[in-house]
Structure formats: C-alpha cells, structure tokens
C-alpha cells in the first residue's frame, strides 16, 4: 500500500507536478470547449438533415445516416491518428500549418458529432407528432415548425444525455495527448519519465474529476427538477 501511494500519490511529487500538469490541463479545457461548441451546432444540423421529409431529401438523409453509423462505430484513437498524422499530408496549407491541438479538436468533433446527432434525433422523435401538426396547421412552414415548436421541446428533453456526452468528450481530450499534444495526460507521462513517479497522472485525474463532478451534479439536478415538474403537471 505504501509503495502504491508513493508511486501514484506522493505529496511531494504532487506539488512538484502541479504546475506542468495544470498548464497541460488548460489545453484539455481549451480543446474541450471548442469541440463542444462545434459539436452542438454540427450535430443539430445533421440531426435536422436526417429528419427531412420527402423523396428529394433522401440522398442527404442517407449521407447523414452513413456519417453517424461510421463514426459512432470508429474508435476515437483511430480517428485522432488519422487526423493528426494524416490531415497535414493532404496538401492544403491550412491543414499543413494546423497545430496538433487543432487537428485533435477536429478528431473529437468528428466522433462526438456522430454521438450527439443521435441524441438530438432521439429528442426530436420524442416530440409527439400532434405538436408538429398543430404548428403546421397554423400555417408555419416545416422549418418554422421545427424551429419554434419541435426543437425547443426536443433540446430541453435531451440536455441530460447531452451533458453526459460532454463529460465523455472532456475525458477523451486526454487521448489526443497520446498523439503529440502536451495536454495533462502527456504532461503526466513527461513527469513520470523524468522522476520515475506516476503522481503526475493522479494530479491530472484530480483536475478532470474536479471538472466533471459539477457537470454531473448539474445534470442530476436538471433531471430531478424535470421529474418533479412532470409529476406536478400530472396531478
């Protein structure tokens, strides 16, 4: 036990590792915030495309399905390697000069957009058809009905699963560290290589947990609040 503590949670090493891990962790937070913002928007667009009615939209629906099926099934590690190692070689100057961090954000966005598209879609489908019908019968167009009636209800319902996916995204920023971005986990490895002590990982873990616990509690809070409101509405 003593040896375990010494190797992974040594108080002296903890203090020593803190500054480097912290500066690495800021990169995690940075990647996370940008990726989350991109995912929120792109996933919504793809979910909308997937729900478009009519024969004309069929190829677009097909593309959206192909995208979500493919990237939900592909490990992030593979996508991250492909982006960070492969994209710069495509010959586009903006990709050639992109930092590994930016390429990592692209990988995270590609994969998590696929997950979050499904979350949005479940939300959209959970809104009863009679709501859309009521909106359309007022003369609202398909897109207006979606925007003012269906999506506000759908998004409210999927906030808890969305937040869950974002907790996952936060943690997966560490995978990018394995491929050349000196974020918290990679800083932990640097520390271990220099001092033969793994406390740096523990420091990184503490940061991640500090970030996710409030988010997890917030999610619980939203779910509880909704349940009590729904129970009140049933009385």
């Amino acid at each position: 036990m003593h040896r375990v503590l010494h190797a992974f949670a040594d108080p002296f090493a903890f203090r020593q590792a803190l500054p480097d891990i912290w500066s690495g962790f800021l990169i995690n937070v940075h990647m996370m915030v940008i990726a989350e913002a991109l995912v929120l928007v792109l996933a919504l667009l793809i979910a909308i495309v997937r729900g478009l009615p009519g024969r004309g939209a069929k190829p677009f629906r097909g593309l959206a399905i192909l995208y979500t099926d493919f990237f939900r099934g592909t490990p992030l590690t593979i996508v991250a390697y492909a982006c960070i190692l492969g994209l710069p070689g495509l010959g586009y100057s903006f990709l050639k000069n992109a930092s590994s961090e930016a390429l990592g954000v692209i990988a995270l966005t590609i994969v998590y957009t696929a997950y979050v598209t499904e979350v949005y879609r479940a939300g959209i489908e959970s809104v009863h058809g009679s709501q859309r019908m009521a909106a359309r019968s007022l003369g609202l167009s398909y897109m207006q009905a979606l925007r003012y009636v269906v999506l506000p209800q759908a998004i409210r319902r999927v906030i808890p699963p969305l937040l869950n996916d974002f907790i996952g995204l936060q943690k997966d920023t560490a995978i990018i560290g394995a491929i050349g971005v000196t974020e918290a986990a990679a800083q932990g490895t640097n520390f271990a290589n220099s001092y033969f002590n793994y406390t740096g990982y523990f420091v990184g873990a503490v940061f991640f947990v500090y970030l996710t616990i409030p988010l997890a509690r917030f999610t619980d809070h939203i779910i509880r609040e909704r349940e009590s409101r729904e129970r009140a509405a049933m009385v």
Partner: protein, 247 residues
Amino acid sequence: MSFVSLEGVTKRFGDLEVLRHVDLDVNEHNVVCLIGASGSGKSTLLRCVNLLERVDEGTIVVDGQTITNGKVDVNALRRKIGIVFQAYNLFPHMTVLQNVSLGPRKVRGLERERARRTAMDLLRRIGLEDKADEYPDRLSGGQQQRVAIARALAMDPKLLLLDEITSALDPQLVSEVLNLVRSLTEVGMTMIIATHEMSFAREVSDKVCFLDAGVICEQGPPDQIFSSPNEPRTREFLKRIIEAGRM
C-alpha cells in the same frame, strides 16, 4: 356559391377506405356539423380540408381555389383555415400568450407588440386574460381548449374546423367551450364541426351530416335529421345516442 366544396372525395389508409366519394358543400357564414360513430371518418374529412391529409380521389375547393391538385401553397391555405383538435395540442414550452401570438408573428408577420395586443384582445374575449403568462399545464382542460380556439382565431381564419373539441373534457367543462363556439356562430364564422354533442349540433348548425363507414349517409337541416331522418342507419345511430342519454 359555397365556401367549401368536396366532390367525390376518397381517402385510404392502406387498404382501409376511410372516406368514400364524399360530397359536401358549406356556404359562407354557415355551420355544418358532422355526426357519426368514432371511426366513421369525421376527423379525416376535416384534415383533408386543410391538407393535413392528402385525398386519394376527388376534389376539394376552398374559397374558390382547388386545393387538391398539388399546386396549392399549403402554408397559405392553412393560414385561412383554423383547426382545433380534441387533445388541444397547445405548445407546452410557451406561455398562453406566446401560444396565441406565435401564428400572428411568424406567419402573418405582425411585429411583436401588435401580435401581443391581438392576442390579449382574444384572451380577453375568451375570459382568460389573467392566464396570459401561465404555461398550458397550469390550466384546466376547458381553459386549454379555449386557448386553442383563440390560437386558431388569432390567424383571423375564414374557416374554422373543430375536431371533437369537447370529447376529452370533463363533463362540467364542456359548456364553457361550447359557449365560446356559440359566440362564434353569432359573429358568422364559417365552421365545420365534428362532434358528439347532439343537442349542440342541433342548436347551432345550418346543416348536419351523418357519416357512417366513410360515407355521408344523410345530410340535411338539423331539425329534419334529428326529428325525421330518412335513412335507417341514421335512425339507428340516433336511437342509440338517445338510449345512452346523450341527447
């Protein structure tokens, strides 16, 4: 010249014919009531008139415009036809005021303040101005249905379709909704009403249609339909209604 005219309208869901060669004329400022058992096609008929359902055969003309040829602007058509549903279908994430002013703002293009005034006028008319900032789930069924009627009226429709709007209500809440509909007949609103409220149908309608298995079995003035129906099936239906104590 009738305001709404159905000719040979047939609607199928798969193999099931829910409407068969329906002919119906509704004059401007008239009220037509559709009666008949559940599943006889009343709701489907209403939904065909505002193109929530597409007809398989036949033509429907509304306000001089043929709407069944696939060339009509559906949104423009629905703008002048209001519909109220059995289950109210209010938007739960919006306040009463927002429910009523959504159409005027986004479809009629009124600016926020004017849409608000129009909506408040309507809420005053239905006696619910004090509920303007409440959400629908805080209202009784009768109040919700009155708001749904106000939401339809806010579009200033030329035709109103009422689809069994009292069927989901507790008995003591029915009259407040029917009183509101009655007040609409007095101002000359053209309406097609699917209903199980026979006394009300007899009182307000200019014409009553009895539907049976997707066919308009008999239509005529209310006194004739309710007092001396010609068709045996109409007689049978009314007999059962009376036996059930519903008239």
